[in-house]
Symmetry: C2
Subunit: 481 residues, 2 copies
């Protein structure tokens, strides 16, 4: 067995199964298996391969894995090995696996799967799950799937697809168990025994009236600890939250975090129960959001499949680079204004990036802090002035401390006290500018009703770069040249 990069810690059982298989797959000389891939169709090729005992063994091991584990393996393999594994997994699990893989990998799998197989895969899924796949499926496949659905699920699919990706409706599923208020718990218990299994993440039954309006929640825990002779109405509780389909998913996620929910009912404007949201969807949502924020900060539009083509990567990244080229060009023209001063005192060219850089860093700290405070409700338009004042004070201290330090160094290097003083003044002023911009940009976006995080890092860096060059070179031109 190959050396595995474990730290000697025992892993959770399933985790190590998939990690081990992956390590073996990587060791396996897949290229020898895959050598004919270009020649024939993938299916034919795999039929051929299935004769080989090692491939049959691989198939059996894949069958024993959870779809999420297979998804992990698919994500970690280069394209040809990925398609081999994809062909080997049982067709009835294709749908579940497509749900689990990342967007980029899903695209690659769908592009290499026959339409009929995609239709078959989608038909194994619930309406809300098909809706999750829908944006990536070819239109013809989606139309076929739609036609094949029973009427009720067709309505559900239509509803689920009509919501924004960040609305509660997009997280919602339709798998729920409802009971009437006037029956005894004993009846409920007997009713539940008629199920083969309850929907995943069922921690409560929903109590509805004849018009399907939500009356209350019957948590399984209360059902279990209460006297079976009581009626539902006497035991049911008010749901901790009732969500609406068109609410922001972010709000629902906060409710799950605050009240430690496992599931929550979703109602429409008339109070009718239309579905539920479960914590597994919320967990995926919170994770995906955190990652999107990180990617967005680096100017990546979406998660990149590291095995995707150079061209795809270029497409994913070019927009941010183009924007930065424009802001860098503007900063460059600001410097251009002072070429005369730089020609006379060339030390300015060496010192100016320090002023701009520290301003950018400090501005990014301020803006991150304010955006975060807005998100958790600490900041409103009302207390903006108070915050601004505080940020300016922090900036003045930072400017005097760090500007002073680097000013002294400049004096040492260039033997000019005047130059040192200009450094201190420029640093302090640029830090004040960064505080002003760091507080105002998100507050302004908030007042305009936009996402305060939107492009804030680009804007602040553009301002502190151009501003820093202007302040430093301007002061130098006034007092030194």
């Amino acid at each position: 067995m190959p050396d595995q990069p474990t730290s000697g810690e025992p892993r959770s059982a399933r985790d190590s199964v998939s990690a081990q298989l992956l390590a073996e797959l990587r060791e396996l000389d897949l290229s020898s298996l895959l050598i004919r891939h270009d020649a024939g169709g993938a299916a034919e090729f795999v039929a051929d391969l299935r004769m080989r005992p090692e491939v049959e063994a691989l198939r059996e091991r894949l069958d024993s894995l959870h779809p999420a584990d297979i998804a992990l393996i698919l994500e970690a393999l280069p394209l040809d090995a990925r398609l081999l594994v994809w062909e080997l997994v049982k067709a009835e699990r294709d749908g579940d696996i497509l749900l689990e893989v990342s967007d980029a990998v899903r695209e690659s799998l769908i592009a290499h799967t026959a339409s009929a197989d995609l239709v078959a895969a989608a038909e194994t899924l619930d309406a809300d799950e098909i809706a999750d796949l829908a944006p990536d499926l070819p239109d013809a496949v989606l139309a076929d799937v739609f036609r094949a659905l029973p009427l009720e699920e067709r309505e559900q699919l239509r509803a689920a697809m009509s919501f924004d990706e960040d609305a509660v409706g997009a997280l919602m599923d339709f798998d729920l168990v409802t009971v009437r208020p006037d029956v005894t718990l004993e009846t409920v218990l007997r009713y539940l025994r008629r199920f083969d299994e309850l929907p995943d993440q069922t921690d409560q039954l929903f109590v509805i009236d004849r018009a399907e309006r939500l009356l209350g929640s019957l948590p399984l825990q209360r059902l279990l600890v209460s006297d079976p002779d009581l009626i539902v109405e006497a035991v049911m509780v008010e749901p901790a939250v009732k969500l609406r389909q068109d609410e922001k998913a972010e709000l629902a996620a906060h409710a799950f975090e605050r009240y430690d929910l496992v599931s929550a009912p979703v109602i429409d404007r008339e109070g009718k129960l239309v579905g539920r949201v479960t914590v597994d969807e919320v967990l995926d949502f919170v994770r995906a959001e955190g990652e999107e924020d990180l990617l967005a900060q680096a100017g990546l539009r979406e998660e990149e499949d590291v095995f995707s083509s150079v061209w795809k990567s270029f497409q994913n990244r070019w927009a941010w680079l183009a924007i930065n080229l424009v802001t860098a060009f503007i900063a460059s023209r600001v410097i251009g204004l002072f070429e005369g001063s730089i020609a006379q005192l060339v030390a300015l060219a060496a010192l100016m990036p320090i002023v701009a850089g520290i301003g950018g860093n400090s501005g990014n700290q301020t803006i991150t802090m304010i955006v975060r405070a807005i998100a958790i409700g600490q900041v409103s338009v009302a207390n903006g002035r108070e915050l601004l004042l505080k940020e300016i004070k922090v900036s003045v201290i930072n400017g005097l401390v760090w500007g002073g330090a680097i000013g002294l160094v400049a004096v040492g290097l260039y033997h000019s006290w005047a130059l040192g003083l200009v450094m201190v003044a420029a640093m302090t002023l640029n830090l004040i500018l960064s505080a002003l911009a760091g507080v105002s940009i998100p507050m302004l976006l908030l007042r305009l009703g936009r996402d305060p995080a939107l492009g804030s890092s680009v804007m602040i860096t553009a301002i502190t770069d151009s501003g820093g060059f202007f302040i430093f070179l301007g002061l130098a031109t006034l007092f030194l040249v």
Copy 2:
């Protein structure tokens, strides 16, 4: 009622309750209530205030709120109003509220609460919850709490406190229901009815033998749908995962995400059941992790209470600024090497920040992508070379495209084709350098067994800044001056 910043969308019930109260609290002239705060002690002052009908009304409304909602309100209020609300909430809820507030706000509350009250608050909590508070509690308080605990909980607290913040042990709680394998489900159902309520997030009972070794899991859902005459052993299932106390919490979180878990058992090296992890803790962990990453990228050590003092903010932010000052100084000295060339061709000073800036952006894209791919297991030391090759190709394309664009602009501005060519060459070389560093830094950290994300953004920017100045000014010195 004051205008609320709602978008006309209905909110989930509880959410609007706390938002509304907060809006009213902000409108309320707290300063008039708080005018005597400095004079007397807080408790005395509040006793005085309680006479006032509006304060009594406020207290009643606070009592109706969930601790998490009170936490939100406390976080959103400036210090004196925060302390007023804190004094008004019922003492027996203090512990729950302290658990919910952010670190910075918790510190401010603990600093203003008498030791005896803190001990009383902690005593309302479970051992695992006390462990979460422990780092913020004064030593004397912690010692008192410890002495007051029953022996079993004392052991639990000691165990819970011994784990790293990012170990499974830190997420674990001890609230679980266990059953024996040889009893009937009917017996289990009767046993459960003896509880007033089951622990939160109970979706499964744990089946153990006499030595407390974990034999299996009895999901409530299976309990409910199965024939009550069956014995537990016939119905129980293998747990989806078994966690270990010393595993990384991150691994546990991934298991919850992949297998859509609500709870998971934690076992020790002998297979003995020691506790469980529930999805609400995992959700908080995932959220906190995403936020830490964002804060860390901006060089903030911890979440900042926006109402905290200027001095606290300075402490939170200075380290990153100091590091950046050092890297900016190094870049400045690189420019210093070429002062002679700049003096001869002052355009270089205006153009050099463009080369450095684009390199930094591109490097940050690469490193974010690689760190992310390492985290989800797409990248191992084995396929590093392949990735490096791809990143270099992307860099060459970006260099020729954007370098070409800005090179043409430089030709237009400074009428020198040679200068334009130097721009293109320097951009391309610096982007290749950024690709090299962007792939190598996280891979090297991975091989050294460190966190690949650790300070990667600082390092890449330092390299592309100094490298960009060196490449551009070096090429210019060779070919233009």
